[in-house]
C-alpha cells in the first residue's frame, strides 16, 4: 500500500523507497510457496475468527475442522461431493474467462440445466426406464445450461452488451422460473419427487456419489485436453488475449465466443443435472448454493490450471465442512452463514497473494540501475 502512494507522489528527484516491477515469469516453486503461505495465513485468520466467536481454543477449532471433514465415510463423502460440484462449475466457467467473457451466471446455468433435467422427471418419470430417462436428462440439462449462457454471448458479440450484468440477470430469471415451476409442478407429484428412484443416478463402486466423482474427474481431464490440445482451445486463447490477431487470422469471433459460452453453460447445466438426479432429487432455487460466484473466483485464481482448480475446490470444501462442524458444536450462537465468511476470508488471501506472484518490490538502492 505504501509503495503505491510513495510512487504516486514521487515528484521528487530522489528514487522512491520502493517500486514495483512486473515479473515476466514465476518459478513454479515460488508459485507454490506464495500460495501455500496465503492458505496457511487464511486458515490462521479463520481460526482466530472462530476463537473470537466461540469459547473454544484455537487447537480445538482446528481439530474440529479436521474431524468434521475426515471423521468418517459420510463426512468425507460430503466433503468430496461439495468439492466436486464446485469443481465442475469452475471447470465450466474457465473457458469463458479464458476468452475474457465474464460468465458470472453459473448459478442461472445450473438452475436452467436442473430445470431441463427435472422436466423429464415430472412428465415422464413414471413411464420411461432410467436407461432412457438419464441420457435424455443429461442432454437436455446441457442444452438448457448452454442456452442460458448463449443469449448473453450472442448479444455480447453483436452489440458488445455487458455480459457480466446480462449473465447476472439471467440468474434471477432462472430463480423466478424455478419458483414458478415448483408451484406448478408440485400439485401433480407432491412429495413423490424426493423419494422416488426414477431418474436417479445409480451408485458407482458402492458409493452413491460415485458418478459425481467420475463426472468431475472427466470434466477436469476433458477440459484440460480441450483447452490445451485442440484447435478450439487455441482459438479461445487467441480471442481472449488478442482479439485483433484473431480477426487478422480469420478466426470468427462470433463463432468462438458463442460456441465457448455454450460449452461453458452446458457444463454448468450438467452440474444442475447432478443436483436434480443425484443430490436433491427435486429442484429448488437454492440449488448450487452460491457456488456460481465462488466458482468464478476458483477458476480465476487457478489461472484455469486444472490441478490448482481441483486443489482450491478441495480447500474451499474443507473450509465449508470444517465451519459447519464448528457451527454444529455451537448451534445456539452460530449459524451456517459463518462458512461464507470464512470462504470470503480464504478467497481474499488467495487473491491478494497473486500480487506477490505478478510483481516484484524493489527497495531503494537495490536491483537494476536506471529508470
Amino acid at each position: 500500500m505504501k509503495d503505491a502512494k510513495e510512487s504516486a507522489r514521487s515528484g521528487a528527484p530522489r528514487e522512491p523507497l520502493m517500486r514495483l516491477v512486473r515479473r515476466d515469469t514465476v518459478k513454479p516453486a515460488r508459485a507454490v510457496a506464495v500460495r501455500a503461505a496465503a492458505i496457511v495465513l487464511s486458515l490462521l485468520v479463520c481460526g482466530v475468527f472462530f476463537v473470537t466467536v466461540t469459547d473454544s481454543s484455537i487447537i480445538e477449532i482446528y481439530s474440529a475442522m479436521i474431524s468434521g471433514t475426515f471423521r468418517n465415510g459420510i463426512t468425507v463423502n460430503t466433503f468430496l461431493k461439495e468439492a466436486c460440484m464446485l469443481l465442475i462449475i469452475a471447470v465450466g466457467l474457465a473457458p469463458a474467462f479464458k476468452m475474457s467473457f465474464w460468465n458470472v451466471g453459473g448459478q442461472g446455468q445450473v438452475l436452467a440445466g436442473g430445470m431441463a433435467a427435472a422436466m423429464w422427471l415430472f412428465y415422464f418419470g413414471n413411464d420411461l426406464p432410467n436407461a432412457v430417462l438419464l441420457p435424455l436428462m443429461i442432454v437436455s440439462a446441457a442444452v438448457g445450461g448452454g442456452v442460458w449462457a448463449l443469449l448473453p454471448a450472442i448479444f455480447r458479440v453483436k452489440f458488445t452488451t455487458n455480459e457480466t450484468l446480462f449473465t447476472l440477470m439471467m440468474n434471477y430469471i432462472a430463480i423466478q422460473l424455478v419458483k414458478y415451476l415448483r408451484i406448478t409442478w408440485s400439485p401433480i407429484h407432491a412429495l413423490g419427487m424426493i423419494t422416488r428412484k426414477a431418474g436417479s443416478l445409480p451408485s458407482l463402486f458402492g458409493n452413491e456419489n460415485g458418478w459425481i466423482y467420475v463426472i468431475a474427474a472427466a470434466a477436469v481431464v476433458l477440459m484440460y485436453v480441450y483447452m490445451n490440445k485442440t484447435k478450439h482451445g487455441y482459438e479461445i486463447s487467441v480471442v481472449g488475449e488478442a482479439p485483433n490477431t484473431a480477426r487478422y487470422a480469420g478466426i470468427s469471433e462470433f463463432r468462438v465466443i458463442v460456441r465457448t459460452a455454450f460449452i461453458s453453460g452446458a457444463i454448468c447445466g450438467i452440474a444442475g443435472f447432478l443436483y436434480v438426479s443425484a443430490i436433491d432429487h427435486t429442484i429448488s432455487e437454492t440449488m448450487g448454493g452460491g457456488y456460481g460466484f465462488t466458482a468464478v473466483i476458483v477458476a480465476w485464481l487457478a489461472k484455469f490450471n486444472p490441478i490448482f482448480m481441483t486443489l482450491f475446490s478441495l480447500l474451499i470444501s474443507f473450509v465449508r465442512s470444517g465451519s459447519s462442524e464448528i457451527v454444529s458444536m455451537n448451534t445456539t450462537t452460530l449459524d451456517s452463514s459463518i462458512a461464507n465468511i470464512n470462504i470470503g476470508i480464504f478467497l481474499f488471501f488467495l487473491l491478494g497473494c497473486e500480487f506477490f506472484l505478478n510483481y516484484k518490490i524493489i527497495f531503494r538502492g537495490r536491483g537494476e540501475v536506471g529508470k
Binding site: 450484468l165 430469471i173 423466478q176 452463514s337
Partner: protein, 332 residues
C-alpha cells in the same frame, strides 16, 4: 391509499435504495473501478446501521433523537466504507482483478450480514427478525403523517428525510463531478489514469477516496432499505443482494450521470412493483405461480436496458474509458 398511489409510494422507496447504490457505484466507476461488491457493501452498511441502532435502543431508556439519527447513519457509512477500502486495497495496491475482487467482496459482505443477523436474533430470542422501532420511527417521520394532505401528500410527502436527501445527493454528485476541479480530476483518472498521473494528479489517492466514499453511499442505501423499506426489521432473508445488482445495472441505465439516477431508479422500481400492483389495480386475479413469473420483470427490463444502451453508441453515454482496467504506472 389507493392501489395506484401505494404502487407509486412503494416504488419511490424501493427506487431510493437502488438510487443510493447506483450513486455510490457511479462515484466508484468514475475512478475507473468496476466494483461488483455493491450487494456486499449494501449488506455491510445495512447490517452495521441496523445493529448499531438496535444496540443503542437497548442500551438506553430514553433515546436521544440526534443520536438515533447519527449513530446508524455513521455506522452504516463506515462499515461499507471499510468494505470499499478493502476492495481498493486489493484492486489498486495489490492490482487484483476487479470483477473477481468484487464478487469476493459480495460473498464476504453477505456472509457477515447474515452471520450478524443470526447473532442479533440469539440476543432477542426471536426466530424470524429483530427490529429497531425507535430508529425506524425517526427515519420514517414525515410531513404527511401529521398533516394529511390527501393524494398529493401521499405521493410526495410521505417519506422519511433520507428519501429527499438521496435526491439532493444525486444533485450534489452531479455538481461535484461536472463543476469542480476535484470532480474533473476524478473523471480524468477514470478516463486515462496515465495522463492524469502525468498531469500531477494523485491517481492512487483519487481511486481510494472515490471507492471508499462510493462504498459508504452504497452502505447507506442498505441501511435505508432496512430502516424505511423494511420498517426497521432485519431478517436474514432479505432481498438486498438482488438490489445490489440492479444498482450496478442502473449505472449503465443512467449513463454514468448522477443527474439521471433519480428518474431512472424510480422507473426501475415502478417496473419492479408492476407484477404485484397491476393485478390489484386492474382487478385481475392471478395465480401465485404466475406472480413468480411476473417477478422476472425487473431483470428482463434490466437486460433490455443493457441491450438498448449497448446498441446506441453515443460517445457521451459511455462509461469511463479505463473502467475495469488495472493501472500500473511502470507499464508502457
Amino acid at each position: 391509499m389507493s392501489p395506484l398511489i401505494s404502487w407509486l409510494h412503494s416504488s419511490i422507496i424501493y427506487g431510493t435504495v437502488i438510487m443510493l447504490g447506483a450513486l455510490g457505484e457511479i462515484l466508484t466507476e468514475k475512478s475507473g473501478h468496476l466494483n461488483l461488491g455493491v450487494p456486499g457493501l449494501m449488506y455491510l452498511g445495512g447490517f452495521a446501521g441496523f445493529a448499531s441502532a438496535f444496540v443503542y435502543e437497548r442500551s438506553t431508556e430514553d433515546p436521544n433523537v440526534v443520536l438515533l439519527i447519527l449513530i446508524p447513519l455513521l455506522a452504516s457509512f463506515a462499515a461499507a466504507m471499510l468494505g470499499g477500502l478493502l476492495y481498493s486495497f486489493m484492486t489498486v495496491t495489490l492490482r487484483a482483478n476487479q470483477n473477481v475482487t468484487g464478487l469476493a467482496l459480495t460473498s464476504l459482505g453477505v456472509g457477515i450480514g447474515t452471520f450478524g443477523s443470526a447473532r442479533l436474533l440469539s440476543v432477542t430470542g426471536s426466530t424470524s427478525y429483530s427490529v429497531a422501532s425507535a430508529t425506524s420511527a425517526v427515519y420514517t417521520a414525515n410531513v404527511n403523517a401529521s398533516l394529511d394532505l390527501g393524494a398529493f401528500g401521499q405521493i410526495f410527502l410521505s417519506y422519511g428525510f433520507l428519501t429527499y436527501a438521496a435526491i439532493l445527493l444525486a444533485i450534489l454528485a452531479e455538481l461535484f463531478l461536472m463543476r469542480t476541479r476535484r470532480g474533473l480530476n476524478l473523471r480524468a483518472v477514470g478516463e486515462d489514469p496515465a495522463a492524469a498521473d502525468a498531469a500531477g494528479i494523485n491517481v492512487t489517492l483519487y481511486k481510494y477516496v472515490a471507492t471508499a466514499i462510493g462504498g459508504g453511499i452504497c452502505g447507506i442505501g442498505g441501511f435505508y432499505y432496512i430502516i424505511e423499506y423494511s420498517n426497521g426489521k432485519w431478517s436474514s432473508q432479505n432481498g438486498l443482494e438482488a438490489i445490489g445488482w440492479l444498482a450496478v445495472a442502473l449505472v449503465i441505465f443512467s449513463t454514468w450521470k448522477p443527474k439521471n439516477t433519480p428518474a431512472a431508479s424510480y422507473l426501475f422500481a415502478l417496473l419492479f412493483w408492476m407484477a404485484t400492483n397491476l393485478p390489484t389495480l386492474t382487478g385481475i386475479r392471478i395465480a401465485t405461480s404466475v406472480t413468480e413469473l411476473l417477478k422476472m420483470t425487473p431483470y428482463v427490463v434490466t437486460i433490455l436496458v443493457l441491450i438498448i444502451a449497448s446498441t446506441r453508441k453515443k460517445k457521451e453515454n459511455q462509461g469511463p474509458a479505463s473502467l475495469g482496467k488495472t493501472y500500473f504506472r511502470e507499464e508502457r
